[in-house]
Structure formats: structure tokens, C-alpha cells
């Protein structure tokens, strides 16, 4: 018998509203339906009403976790449009902040994955290790999140010379902790039993679905925008792109853990190279943005984030398009949950490290009678009017708003 099990729109495993409908036969999942669009905020339209310099503050708020990656892609798009390159020191600072962000994001995911497995000790420990990263980000940029460091043409804040020692100290302890955590994951037999061969998404499927970031790399699909199209300082540092082959939840965890070591490596190199640059030389002034188009892409912790801007020579973008990696990755759940059990479904949907708020696109579907009908604006206005009438009538009868 086919039964439908809802995960969401509000569910303990989802940190944001999202709706997955599992079609199950007993405990086995034989189909899945997804509905996104529960927290649409209209960021693209908003940003078309802000000046070029204001937009980074807005796109930071696309997502609290990749709050450096979105502005990074945006400023690269604007710089592409203007044909400028930021000073060397700014490039290194961007790189350091972005990699610190990747570290905290991957730690956050590992903790959440532990929680989803019911392994709350891993959850608490990992988040404790993550805390010093946020402290260092605060010391370097002024904020724990939403760093407000990106700006077309450079960065807003210089890296304080006295903080370099602190960052290096953090990297040492972080390397040790990450090593311990990686071993704990790789050696635990119960974690093996729960995650190996679960939620497999293979290389061919990755290519078909356009999977990105750790989701793709765990299946051996070799994509990393930092290496393929290096921006800023990424061609001046050496790092490896971590690849696994099975594409199951275990490999997704391992890829993220090993990427942490690469991030630590990148930050160390940047901190060394930054010593040869002049303090204070952190941005160039962009007087005006010429008409035209620009694109910017950056490897966010979840995969490639892509921004497109078009200018008509004014002080605001004429069009700003955001493509977040989770949009591609969430779709992979459709195949990877098939044949697994309900117990795994939550873990699998979480294994792509979905960032729902990045992904949301507007789409209105009426689900009351089981049919799917997209409502037009006129319909919505009519429904709204009807409801107002109804409430007004109820108040007139002295019923109150219940």
C-alpha cells in the first residue's frame, strides 16, 4: 500500500520551511515530491532598487551561512562589468574570509548531520569547535556573521596586523580538532552502518542534474570553480580538490571534512603572502558603472554560486540574477531517496547541505483538492478580497477573529 509521509513544511530536521512528500510502501521510499517556495523574499527585485554599493549588504542576507559567498560572486560580477581587478591585499583578505566561512559552514553541517543521526554528542562538540571560528571572524571583520567585508573594487576593512597571530593559532587548534572529528567519523562502525550506501547519487546523475559542490565531488564529479575559473587570489595558492567516488552520505561527510584541511591550507598561504602587500591598500574606487553585463561565480561551501548583473549606466543594477547551488542540489534528492527507508530520508535530504533560503523562487500552487493549479495575481487579489469580506461579516456578527 502506498502511503504519503510529509516531511515539512515545518519539521525538526528542516532548519527552514520546505516540503518533501515521501511516497512510501511500509518503510521503503518509492517516490518523492518536493515543493519549494515557502520563504520567498524577492531579493532580486529588491536589489534592483539599491545602489551598486548597497547591494552587497542585501545579498549577504540571502543566506546567513554563506553570507560571504553571495557578495563575493556579486562583486566579481560588478568588477567583470567594469573590467577592474581589486588590489592584491584585498584579494587575499577576501580569500581568507571566504575560506573561514567555508570552515564554519562545514563544521555546522557535520554537527547537524550528527543531530539528524541522533548523535547529539557530535552535534554539541562540533558546534563548540565552530565557535572559535566565529570569534576570529568577528575579530577580523567586525561581525560573527554578515561580515560586510565585500565591496565592488576591494574590501571594506583591512586585516588588522595583530590579528594574524590569532588566526594562525586558531588554525592550529582547528586542524587538531578536525583531525579528531574526521577520525571519529571514519572509524565509527555505527556511522558506517547508517551512512554507507545510503542516498547514493552517482557521477552520471550528477552531470544530468547539474549537482554542485561537495554533493557532486562526493560522487567523483570533478567541479570546483575555485580551480576551474580561479578568481582573485585563488590562482596564487595551492590546494587540492577533494574527490570521493561513491556519492553516498558517508562520502559527502568525508569530502566536507577533508575540505576543511584544504581551507586551512589556503588560509595559511594567504596569511603568508599578505605580508608582502602594503597595509591600507585595500580597494580601488569605481567612479561609475558602464552599461553592459557582468557575471561572477564563486565556490560557496555548498557549490558554485552564480550572480549576473546588467547595467544601463545608472547607479543601480538594471537586472540582478542569483543562482544558488542548493537550487541544483535539492533536486538530487528526488533520485537519491528512492529505495531507501524513511529513517534515511531525512538524512539524505540534509546531506546536500541544503540552504533553502538561498533557493526560494516564487511559485504558487493550490493543493486543496489535490490538483495543481497556478494562481494568477488576479485570483490572489480576488481570494484576498473574499477573505476580507468574510472577516468583516464575522465582525459585524460580533464573532471576533477566530
Amino acid at each position: 500500500m502506498v502511503k504519503k509521509i510529509p516531511i515539512g513544511p515545518f519539521h525538526p530536521i528542516l532548519e527552514e520551511p520546505e516540503f518533501f512528500e515521501l511516497h512510501v510502501d511500509g518503510e521503503r521510499v518509492i517516490g518523492m515530491d518536493m515543493t519549494i517556495g515557502w520563504s520567498h523574499r524577492g531579493i532580486e527585485l529588491l536589489s534592483e532598487h539599491k545602489t551598486w554599493d548597497q547591494v552587497p549588504f542585501l545579498v549577504e542576507r540571502v543566506c546567513g551561512i554563506c553570507s560571504c559567498s553571495h557578495p563575493y560572486a556579486y562583486v566579481k560580477a560588478v568588477e567583470d562589468l567594469c573590467g577592474v581587478e581589486p588590489p592584491l591585499r584585498a584579494q587575499f583578505i577576501r580569500c581568507i574570509v571566504a575560506e573561514l566561512e567555508r570552515l564554519h559552514s562545514h563544521f555546522l553541517w557535520t554537527g547537524l548531520a550528527g543531530h539528524f543521526l541522533g548523535y547529539n554528542t557530535v552535534f554539541m562538540w562540533t558546534w563548540r569547535f565552530r565557535e572559535p571560528i566565529l570569534d576570529v571572524l568577528e575579530a577580523v571583520t567586525g561581525n560573527r556573521n554578515h561580515y560586510a567585508v565585500m565591496k565592488p573594487g576591494g574590501v571594506r576593512r583591512d586585516l588588522p596586523q595583530e590579528e594574524i597571530g590569532n588566526v594562525l593559532k586558531l588554525l592550529d587548534t582547528l586542524e587538531k580538532n578536525n583531525d579528531m572529528l574526521t577520525k571519529a567519523i571514519v572509524d565509527d562502525p555505527v556511522i558506517h552502518a547508517r551512512t554507507k550506501g545510503v542516498g547514493v547519487f552517482n557521477k552520471a546523475q550528477c552531470r544530468l542534474y547539474g549537482a554542485l559542490g561537495p554533493t557532486a565531488r562526493s560522487a567523483g564529479y570533478d567541479v570546483d570553480i575555485r580551480r576551474d575559473h580561479p578568481i582573485d587570489a585563488y590562482d596564487k595558492v595551492k590546494f587540492n580538490v577533494i574527490l570521493c567516488e561513491h556519492g553516498d552520505v558517508f562520502d559527502k561527510a568525508v569530502v566536507r571534512q577533508l575540505e576543511n584541511f584544504e581551507s586551512i591550507k589556503i588560509i595559511r598561504q594567504c596569511l603568508k603572502l599578505i605580508e608582502d602587500t602594503k597595509p591600507g591598500d585595500i580597494s580601488i574606487e569605481i567612479k561609475e558603472v558602464p552599461p553592459g553585463e557582468g557575471i561572477g561565480a564563486y565556490e560557496a561551501p555548498r557549490g558554485e554560486v552564480f550572480h549576473y548583473v546588467r547595467s544601463n549606466g545608472g547607479n543601480m543594477p538594471m537586472r540582478h540574477k542569483v543562482r544558488a547551488p542548493s537550487f541544483n542540489n535539492i533536486l538530487t534528492n528526488e533520485l537519491s531517496v528512492l529505495g531507501n527507508t524513511v529513517a534515511d530520508a531525512g538524512l539524505i535530504t540534509a546531506a546536500v547541505d541544503p540552504c533553502y533560503s538561498c533557493t526560494e523562487r516564487v511559485g504558487i500552487v493550490d493543493r486543496r483538492d489535490g490538483t495543481r493549479r497556478v494562481l494568477t495575481e488576479a485570483d490572489l487579489v480576488r481570494l484576498s478580497h473574499e477573505k476580507t469580506e468574510l472577516i468583516r461579516k464575522r465582525f459585524a456578527e460580533g464573532g471576533g477573529n477566530r
Binding site: 502511503k3 504519503k4 509521509i5 510529509p6 519539521h11 525538526p12 530536521i13 518503510e27 550528527g114 543531530h115 539528524f116 543521526l117 541522533g118 548523535y119 547529539n120 554528542t121 557530535v122 552535534f123 554539541m124 562538540w125 563548540r128 565509527d188 555505527v190 556511522i191 552502518a193 547508517r194 527507508t341 524513511v342 529513517a343 534515511d344 530520508a345 531525512g346 538524512l347
Partner: protein
């Protein structure tokens, strides 16, 4: 007069009030130890009491498609059963002469009723996740009852009697069951089964907050939820006490033996909390395989050893 005494025993000491207070204190020990393992601070000692009292004051919501008789009655039946098990165990531990023939079997049966009650309550809630939780609880019950019963029977084989009084007496004169090879093996099996019986990690599969959002508990709120939690708290007292009685010489409250009794109890609770905090949740199929495979084998070996006298 005798009847009044029984009622007082059941409702006050060592029955409901006493079991609930000690059980809630045990859940505090659990939360505190868990917190320390997870590098947190943990709640103050009265937190479980505050939670329970608060829940009793909250609104009770019965889902419109729930069958309310089963949904609301089952927590109470579970609580009554848990209290009964606690009363029998405490009575025989405090005064071994109060034993009756077959009280071990009665306790073993009564201890499954809270799980059965949650199965019915979960499926009466009208929630698909509740039904799924019930199905899982049922499978888990089938899985762990077999090794638990065999582990318990090793003691019966050694003692040659079905009454708690005889078991306690035997251990007083011949040393505790844990002193023998079969006793140790059966004890290990019993600890893992207890983990499943109490719905602790790695076997909290029927509740599985992050998979099925509470499973059997999903629709409970207010006073019924408080009763469900009291139920768990009392079982937290009953199950370790059962293990101590059967394998570790029981508890005794005369003189310095108060201290050893409390230590035995705390030791078992801490073992269970540590298992709980160092393991992720397994899947239901894996749990069944674990109990019917290695656990069944170990308990069978213990049984054979007990029969040939080790």
C-alpha cells in the same frame, strides 16, 4: 485494613508518588551527565519537575481525526502498569518475604504494557508519523523481548524458582549472579535490551525526533504528554531496578548498604547514559538484526552455561 495498606503502597510508597519523584530525579541525572559529556552545563535538579508541572497546565489538544478514547486512555494505562511494576519490585526488595510465586513473570509482562500502550496511543493519534512510530515500536518490541527473556531465564535456571524472594535469597547466600560467567553475559544483554525498552539511543527509533518528529508521541500535548513523560521516568527507575534485582543482588536500605544500593543504581544509569551519548541512532532493520543476531546468541550461550553450572 489490609486493602487500605495495599492502596497506600500502590499510590504513595513505594508506588506512584515515590517512583515518580525518584524517576524524575533519574531523568535529571541523565540530562546532567549527557550535558557534561556534550560539553554543556545542563539543567538544575528541579528541571524535570518544573517541566512536568508546566505540562499539566498546558492545553490538551486532541487531533480531529484521532480516536480520543484510545489516544487519551493509553498514557494512563501505561502509567498504571509502570507504577505496578515499580511497586512489586520495591516491595520485594524492601521485604523479601512479601514475594509471591511468579512475581517475576508478572513484572516481566507488566513492563511491556507501557510500550504496548504507546503503540495503541500512537496509532490512535491519526497522524501518519504516529502510525509509523507505532509500527517501529512494535518491531522493536518483538526484537528485544526475546533476548531479554532468555537473559532473565538464565537467573531462573540457576535459582530454580520464579519468585523474586528466592532470587534475592539465592544471591545473598551464593554471591550475586554477576559473579558467574553466565550472569555477566546475561547482564550485558539485559543492559542493551533495557536501552531499547526505555527508548534510548541507539534504539530511540520509535520516537526518532529528526526522522519522524516524535513518532508515537507526536500528537500528545499538555497533561497526556506529561503522563507519557512520567511514564518514561518511572520506567527509568523500574528497568535498572529489575536488572539489579535479577543480576546484582537487589537493593537494601539497612545501614551502610544504602550506599552500595544507590551506587549500583547510579552505575547502571551512567552506563546507559554513556551508551546513549556515544552512539547514533540505528535503523529498525539494523536493530532487529542486532537483537536477533548477536544478542540472541550471547543470551543463548549464557543460558547453556547456566544449565551446565557456570
Amino acid at each position: 485494613m489490609q486493602a487500605v495498606m495495599y492502596i497506600v503502597r500502590y499510590l504513595v510508597f513505594p508506588g506512584f508518588v515515590f517512583s515518580a519523584v525518584v524517576g524524575l530525579l533519574t531523568t535529571w541525572v541523565d540530562r546532567k551527565v549527557s550535558a557534561r559529556v556534550q560539553l554543556r552545563v545542563g539543567p538544575p535538579w528541579f528541571q524535570p519537575f518544573a517541566d512536568t508541572i508546566k505540562l499539566f497546565g498546558k492545553e490538551v489538544i486532541v487531533p480531529s481525526n484521532a480516536r480520543w478514547t484510545g489516544f487519551l486512555l493509553m498514557p494512563i494505562i501505561g502509567l498504571a502498569a509502570a507504577t505496578l511494576a515499580s511497586t512489586i519490585l520495591w516491595s520485594v526488595n524492601l521485604a523479601p518475604e512479601r514475594t509471591f510465586i511468579g512475581d517475576t513473570l508478572v513484572t516481566l509482562y507488566v513492563m511491556t504494557i507501557p510500550a504496548l500502550a504507546m503503540i495503541i496511543g500512537g496509532s490512535a493519534s491519526g497522524n501518519p508519523l504516529g502510525a509509523l512510530g507505532s509500527a517501529r515500536e512494535m518491531k522493536l518490541l518483538f526484537a528485544y523481548e526475546l533476548p531479554l527473556t532468555i537473559a532473565f531465564l538464565t537467573t531462573i535456571v540457576k535459582v530454580g524458582s520464579f519468585s523474586f524472594g528466592k532470587i534475592l535469597m539465592y544471591q545473598q547466600y551464593n554471591g550475586v549472579m554477576l559473579g558467574s560467567v553466565s550472569g555477566v553475559l546475561a547482564f550485558i544483554v539485559a543492559i542493551f535490551c533495557a536501552q531499547a525498552k526505555l527508548g534510548f539511543l541507539p534504539f530511540d527509533i520509535p520516537e526518532a525526533e529528526t526522522e519522524i518528529a516524535g513518532g508515537t508521541h507526536i500528537e500528545y500535548s499538555g497533561a497526556p504528554l506529561a503522563i507519557v513523560r512520567l511514564n518514561t521516568a518511572i520506567m527509568y527507575l523500574v528497568v535498572p531496578l529489575f536488572i539489579i534485582t535479577v543480576f546484582w543482588g537487589g537493593v537494601n536500605f539497612t545501614g551502610w548498604r544504602i550506599l552500595t544500593s544507590v551506587l549500583k543504581y547510579v552505575a547502571i544509569v551512567v552506563i546507559m547514559v554513556l551508551i546513549k551519548n556515544t552512539n547514533p541512532r540505528v535503523k529498525i532493520a539494523q536493530a532487529v538484526r542486532f537483537f536477533w543476531g548477536p544478542m540472541f546468541a550471547i543470551s543463548a550461550i549464557a543460558m547453556i552455561l547456566a544449565i551446565i553450572g557456570y
